[in-house]
């Protein structure tokens, strides 16, 4: 929350407002203060003049009692702190507080200082110079003292008491001290008002700012965030709603244009990928079919030529030649089609496809005393597959199984089931990239028949390779050296040596370094591969949760596949059957399943048999 734009804006503006308000308040209060004090000074001065004048008659008459009485009476007024008259020597002659009488005030004292600053005392002073404000010792509020010099006048030296000689200028001083608590209260109140005003303004400002930011920044940014998350998770069709004409609106529009372009690029890539795999498939099929077709066509057309005098046979042969020519056109069509077509997926009952594959091969299997056991699960949902391609998958698998059993007889068991599988051990990584975009899949080194992910590791100056199982969550890997969790291992792209380690992360299980791989269109895969761990995390798959699959197992009681060959069986052109096999059967199956987002895996025991397991996703559209 502290990093939010609104918060930052509000804090900055508030600080600025406080600064401006306090500056403003300071200046206002100061001038108000000065104004008030001026008024007070004038008032005190007027009061002191009044005291002076009212005591004047008594003093001329040298009537000390009356003067005392007047001073005392005045001193009883609520806000008057001190009234006293000092003579020239600084001796207090009259005072409201009688204890002060006859005290001698030092020339350096507060009241005298303004005149007696220099050696020759001043006789004329302005009001401001005569006034002084101070906090009396032990007092709680400020006071203002004002001295009023009592000048010599003809009536003074002509007075019958002849108290003062004519040469004297100042006869004494009237010192009046008034409390300032009322003024102080007013200033305080003004200060409070200012503070309150500042507080309210800042509050209003903050609320307005917050609302503005929420409306203009927060909500659009939230919408953009949602959009980036959607796009990151693969939904490139997501569009940011119209966000108006400001900068964020432009950003949203440009974001939409970007995702649109990405969609187009991805579709093209997708298409190219499909074409490539279909091209491979078509090439394989063409190879596989064209050679036997050549045999049929040459022999049949040869016979056709030689049996022109035997119309009955000739007619039958014509059918063979015609149909073979038709097959030739189909294959040619397939090759032509390969460059622009994708599998034709329709909702299909998988059992029908399997049955058809079995029917085609029935005679051949019977001949070799091979029994086919069907353990079909009832009520399987229909799935979106290309029935012809899928039939080829089962045909190839059954033919392989039959060949593995040989002529001695045996059983092929085909089991179907609906399973709900967690992504662990099912989702296959078909493409992984380093941050620079280098392909990490290794067709050469296969794990359970699937291309592995190849990573380079460097440990104590030694370089080696690690091959990760492409099936997510199986935690399998092949490494030439074993790695402990504390080893300072470097994980690198084998092509460009860029580090694949995510420094901000540690394996949550063994705290070893964690690698990060780009899975194009499907986020990132993270994991570790120490001797004891093998943790992996693939957010894209984790978010999908478990999926429904149709599981088809084709098991035979044949010779089995030796462990050293099991990794090669899906390689194109790998065959154990010499001239009998093309080595494309399983590669073709693999290609077809790849186009159906399906998975094939194999388990085998030499002498006991082999089981191929296929998983086809149910919610495919």
């Amino acid at each position: 929350m502290f990093s939010k734009i609104a918060f930052k804006l509000i804090i900055t503006t508030s600080l600025l407002a406080i600064l401006i308000f306090s500056g403003f308040a300071f200046l206002t209060i100061r001038s108000q203060n000065a104004l008030l004090l001026d008024q007070v000074k004038n008032f005190v001065n007027a009061q002191s003049e009044t005291i002076k004048n009212s005591t004047k008659v008594a003093m001329l008459g040298n009537n000390r009692e009356v003067t005392h009485a007047i001073i005392r009476t005045i001193g009883q007024q609520p806000c008057i702190r001190q009234v006293r008259i000092l003579n020239k020597e600084g001796r207090v002659i009259y005072a409201a507080d009688s204890s002060q009488i006859n005290m001698v005030v030092d020339k350096k004292a507060e009241a005298c200082y303004s005149c007696h600053e220099s050696n020759q005392p001043l006789s004329k002073l302005s009001i401001s110079e005569r006034a002084r404000i101070y906090l009396p010792p032990g007092g709680t509020s400020r006071v203002m003292g004002l001295i009023n010099p009592i000048y010599n006048e003809p009536s003074c030296w002509k007075a019958p008491c002849h108290a003062h000689p004519k040469t004297q200028t100042v006869l004494g001083v009237l010192d009046l001290t008034v409390c300032l608590s009322k003024v102080d209260r007013e200033i305080k109140a003004a200060k409070h008002k200012m503070a309150l005003l500042a507080l309210v303004s800042i509050l209003v400002l903050a609320i307005v700012l917050w609302l503005l930011v929420k409306q203009l920044v927060d909500q659009p940014v939230q919408k953009l965030l949602v959009a980036t998350r959607e796009v990151a998770s693969g939904n490139l069709n997501y569009k940011v709603p119209e966000l108006g004409n400001d900068e964020l609106g432009f950003l949203a529009r440009s974001f939409n244009i970007m995702t649109q372009k990405l969609t187009e690029a991805r579709q093209q890539l997708f298409q190219i990928d499909k074409m490539a795999s279909l091209g491979r498939l078509a090439a394989g099929v063409a190879h596989e079919i064209n050679n036997p077709l050549t045999g049929i066509l040459t022999y049949a057309s040869f016979l056709l030529k030689r049996t022109k005098d035997q119309p009955e046979i000739n007619k039958d042969l014509e059918v063979i030649v015609r149909e073979t020519m038709r097959s030739r056109e189909i294959v040619k069509g397939l090759l032509d089609f390969a460059r622009q077509s994708i599998p034709k997926k329709i909702r299909t009952d998988i059992h029908q496809v399997i049955e058809r594959a079995i029917t085609v091969l029935e005679n051949q299997l019977l001949l070799n005393h091979i029994q086919v056991k069907k353990q079909f699960s009832e009520n399987l949902p229909q799935i979106l597959i290309d029935p012809n391609q899928m039939q080829q998958v089962f045909t190839n698998l059954i033919v392989n199984a039959g060949q593995a059993i040989g002529q001695g007889g045996g059983t092929i068991t085909i089991t179907t089931a609906l399973t709900r599988l967690s992504p662990y051990g099912i989702a296959q990584i078909r493409q992984a990239l380093c941050p620079k975009g280098h392909e990490l899949m290794d067709e050469q080194t296969r794990i359970d028949g699937l291309p592995s992910i190849k990573l380079k590791i460097r440990l104590n100056g030694k370089e080696s390779f690690v091959h990760l199982d492409p099936i997510y969550g199986r935690k399998n890997f092949k490494s030439e050296i074993s790695i402990n969790e504390k080893d300072p291992v470097e994980i690198l792209c084998p092509k460009c040596n860029i580090s694949l380690i995510d420094k901000s992360k540690k394996c949550p299980e063994c705290s070893a370094p964690v690698y990060t791989l780009e899975i194009p269109g499907k986020g990132q895969l993270q994991g570790c591969f120490t001797s004891s761990c093998g943790w992996q995390y693939w957010e894209y798959i984790e978010k999908q949760g478990p999926r429904d699959y149709i599981e088809i197992k084709v098991s035979d009681t044949g010779c089995g596949i030796p462990p050293e060959l099991i990794n090669k069986i899906f390689d194109p052109f790998f065959t154990t059957k010499g001239q009998q096999g093309t080595g494309l059967g399983l590669a073709v199956i693999w290609g077809i399943l790849e186009n159906h987002e399906g998975i094939i895996s194999v388990e085998s025991k030499v002498g006991a048999g082999t089981t191929f397991t296929i998983h086809l996703p149910v919610n495919l559209d």
């Binding site: 090439a283 040459t298 022999y299 057309s301 040619k332 001239q579």
Partner: protein, 267 residues
Amino acid sequence: MDEKQKHLLAIDDEPVILDAIKKIGAAEGWRVDTAADATSGLHLVQKHVFDLCLCDIKLPDLDGFGFLDELRRMNVDLAVIMTTGYATVENAVQSLELGAIDYLPKPFTVDEVLSALYRGFRYVELISKLRSAKPGLDSMIVPCPIQYRRLGYGSWCFIENDGSVKIGVSDLFLKIVDPIRALRLQPVESEITQGFSCAEVEADDELVHPVMAPISGQIISVNQKLEQDPSLTEKDPYFEGWLYTIIPKNLNYELKYLTACNQAYGS
């Protein structure tokens, strides 16, 4: 037609195809030797003199192109017809570019393989006659004009000023399939593909010979005069006897597979 027995070498990794070729050859009175891979084929080439070779592109050791290279390296003058079950344009034109005289896509009928082999034998015959002929007497086969280009020895093309391309059959091809009984052309607007048949020439012996399109494109006009007089191609194969005018589809790419007409056949 020739007193000397023709000698054919067939190379293929499919025994059934080799057997079929043997049968066909025996019926025609040829001597047929077979090899299951390029290496044993090369051994046979060193031991015997063959008139013609039919070679599969996909072989277990060297592929068919490697076999052609090896022949050239060994300085063996042997006319080769390439064949493959993976019949693509690239395979076809690459074969011709590397010196094969013809290309036969699998699967083929007896007639198709026979017509290809007959053409092959006739080609070898004519070329050797042409070579042994004294200078000045070589006018029995008219080469295509030097500004023309040809695919293999059979078809030629000439790029017109307006960007369209004229296509025809070479004198050598016509002399090989001679005498012609009929010429089967494709209609206007058909698409033709480089290295694949664009017309068929039916010879008097009932064999049908495909004419390989030298360039891919769409036919915009067919030579009307040929309908009335098919022999016009034989009389004037390079001018009045043209077959089609086409709008080329990928001319710049395909030109690299063509040979300039000033280069001699079989070299």
